[in-house]
């Protein structure tokens, strides 16, 4: 996929002026936050489960090499195959090999961010194999030639009228004058079109939410049932999963499962959680004859032992972007690569380089909401700061920004001066903000205030308030 992260500022400006997008983003702002809050509040053990989920993954990362070997051994014992891929291109190679050996012409796909990461669809197309996305959101954006704008709601940037127009264009075998003005009707239409594709596919490709070392099982979590048809109908099932998806036991998986759906969609449990272990057994009447797991590293092992190791606990629930004011304002495509939102701002510089993605960790208000809601307690703001520091050290940020930061650092290191400066600034801003208590323009941050107002500080500086409270 084409990387547009270096143009984040341009992307963001465009996104802010895009009416369709702004309307669609309203659904993110209003929907996800309340549902997650209600689900978390309804489970008294939720916070303790988050702690435990974090502890499980930390333990796995300390022993990842051994858990991977154990997982491989179990998959093989059940008649499956494990393929190791250090890079995206190696993973694509494994997948193509398996497809070629199966004589595959068409491949159905369950929703998977990892196949986005390795750019699988365009690669398969170039090799004369047709990939068919079967998750409704993924299907819609595939028709549009787009990429997901959200890791669990890939078409969240679209409105119904856009989907209707796409279906009209694509489903030419249907009556051109059919009724199409309800989401129900559009869903039914997609179900009908895709049912045949499911039944005729040669290979099914899914991602995995978890890999269980104890039993060599791969797990997918979905609501539509498309992942299950993808993996149970064709002769060959390929699971593409990154190495950090491992959990030790079925019990450990159950713990993390409890925080996954609640954090993602606010459901207590997604509709379908499916554990697959090996190919169909001799006595089985259905299921795939071949079961392959492609284990992708793609630079993840390099994060172990660094300040970014915590990011490997991520279970891709999407809560961080659902609660991010920057994501709310500009949507996922502005981030310019596969992973958007706060988790993307940490991951993207790792994958495509901080020289290209340096804007992302800077595009943060550091409000801390992402870390507050992350079920795996990943310190996202801290890691974004690490990138900023690295970028700063490499002198990649623009000279003006460097000068301002240096000035701030110089002042900040001198407490009396800092207090004086902030007091003057706070008063000045509050006078300028007037009765609206909003500032439409700030001297050193005009780019920031171009599209939003800065609330004026009220009641003196933090230091002054803190002293007063004591």
């Amino acid at each position: 996929m084409q990387i547009t992260s270096p143009g984040f500022k341009r992307n963001a400006t465009r996104a802010l002026g895009d009416e369709q997008l702004q309307k669609a983003l309203g659904h993110v702002r209003s929907n996800f936050i309340d549902k997650r809050a209600a689900a978390a509040a309804a489970l008294p053990e939720f916070e303790a489960l988050r702690d435990n989920a974090k502890a499980i993954k930390d333990h796995v990362l300390e022993n990842l090499d051994i858990y991977l070997e154990t997982f491989e051994e179990r998959v093989t014992a059940q008649g499956g195959n494990v393929h190791w891929a250090a890079t995206a291109s190696e993973a694509r190679g494994h997948i193509l090999d398996i497809c070629r050996k199966a004589g595959a012409r068409s491949v159905t796909k369950g929703k998977s961010m990892i196949t986005e990461e390795i750019g699988l669809n365009s690669f398969l197309e170039k090799s004369d194999i047709t990939p068919i996305e079967t998750d409704l959101g993924e299907y819609i954006i595939q028709l549009r030639g787009e990429h997901p704008s959200h890791i669990i709601a890939p078409a969240v940037h679209l409105n119904m009228d856009q989907v209707r127009d796409d279906f009209k264009k694509a489903h030419t075998h249907l009556d051109a004058n059919r009724a199409m003005d309800e989401p129900e009707i559009l869903l039914k239409e997609a179900r009908g079109v895709l049912r045949d594709r499911f039944l005729n596919a040669d290979v099914g490709i899914t991602g995995a939410n978890f890999l269980v070392a104890e039993t060599g099982s791969s797990i997918i979590v979905t609501n539509e049932g498309n992942g299950d048809l993808t993996q149970s109908l064709p002769k060959v099932h390929i699971v593409v999963a990154s190495i950090e998806k491992i959990v030790p036991t079925l019990e450990d998986m159950s713990q993390i499962m409890r925080v996954l759906a609640r954090s993602a969609t606010g459901q207590e449990m997604s509709v379908y959680t499916t554990l697959s272990s090996g190919p169909r057994r001799p006595e089985d009447p259905d299921g795939p004859e071949q079961y392959h797991v492609v284990l992708l590293d793609n630079g993840r092992s390099e994060m172990i032992g660094t300040e970014f190791q915590d990011m490997l606990r991520c279970i891709r629930c999407g809560a961080c972007m659902n609660h991010c004011p920057v994501y709310h304002a500009v949507g996922g495509h502005a981030y310019g690569w596969v992973y958007p939102g706060p988790m993307g701002s940490v991951l993207t510089p790792k994958f495509i380089g901080v020289d290209k993605a340096g804007h992302l960790p800077n595009a943060s208000t550091f409000c801390g909401r992402c870390e507050e809601v992350c079920p795996m307690r990943i310190p996202l703001p801290k890691m974004m700061r690490h990138w900023r520091e690295q970028e700063f050290e490499k002198h990649l940020s623009p000279p003006a920004q460097r000068r301002n930061l240096k000035l701030w650092a110089w002042v900040a290191k001198r407490p009396t001066l800092y207090r004086l400066a902030t007091r003057i600034a706070a008063r000045g801003m509050s006078v300028l903000g007037g009765r609206r208590h909003r500032l439409g323009w700030l001297p050193v941050a005009s780019a920031w205030t171009k599209h939003r107002d800065m609330p004026t500080p009220e009641g003196g500086t933090f230091m002054a308030q803190w002293k007063g409270k004591r």
Partner: protein
């Protein structure tokens, strides 16, 4: 080889020395013990737990009928009629469904599973029900083909009260007993309500690629 490359790189980053026998022992122990973690509280009495199972399943838009061993067939026929569905079902060969088969065969055409994707109603038998979230656990195999859980538009699942357990963690010991330690059925489906999508404007719609309706026949002990 990428396998060795990846494993070596992990090891070098973990800052562990050459001898990993302690870590190996710890991993083996953790897997052998498979200790449950935090279990959400469930109601104190059996009656209340069954009620929670039903409430949660219904909250996930499934429907539940409580039936006796003798009234399963009647309940199935009535449910089909109430929903204007044809008197024809695709049924799993599971022996635990023999009673239902006998009771219903005069009123319904019963075809053996798996189907070909064109069936309107499928009937399966569940391994467990889970109180915590109103979830069904179904295992694949000759008794209950897994595709039957997804292809028909309507899915009827027979569940025995004695198989209703509190937590997901109660499923695993049962499977270990039936299939052996560290073994699993080819597919285990945990199903909570009928299929759905919210991909168009975040509007929740039932009946995506899997069933539009999920009906549970909960059989009294």
């Amino acid at each position: 080889m990428s396998r060795e490359f990846i494993l070596e790189r992990i090891k070098s980053r973990q800052k562990v020395d050459g001898d990993d026998s302690d870590r190996r022992r710890a991993v083996e122990k953790r897997i052998a013990e498979h200790a449950p973690g935090i279990l959400p509280a469930v109601p104190g009495t059996r009656v209340k737990r069954l009620k929670q199972f039903i409430d949660k399943a219904e909250a996930a838009q499934a429907s539940v009928s409580r039936v006796s061993e003798q009234s399963m067939g009647k309940a199935l026929v009535e449910w089909l009629r109430d929903h204007n569905l044809p008197a024809e079902v695709r049924m799993s060969p599971d022996k635990r469904l023999d009673g239902l088969r006998k009771q219903a065969e005069k009123k319904l055409t019963i075809k053996p599973a798996p189907g070909d994707g064109s069936d309107i109603v499928g009937v399966s038998h569940a391994e467990c029900g889970i109180v915590e979230t109103g979830t069904l656990a179904l295992t694949s195999g000759p008794d209950n083909p897994t595709t039957l859980n997804f292809l028909p538009e309507n899915h009827v699942v027979v569940l025995r009260e004695k198989d209703v357990v509190d937590h997901y963690e109660d499923i695993w010991p049962r499977l270990r007993k039936r299939f052996g330690e560290r073994k699993m059925p080819r597919t285990l489906n945990l199903v909570t309500g009928p299929s759905r999508s919210a991909d168009i404007e975040q509007t929740l719609i039932l009946g995506a690629h899997g069933p539009v309706r999920l009906h549970i026949l909960l059989v009294r002990d």
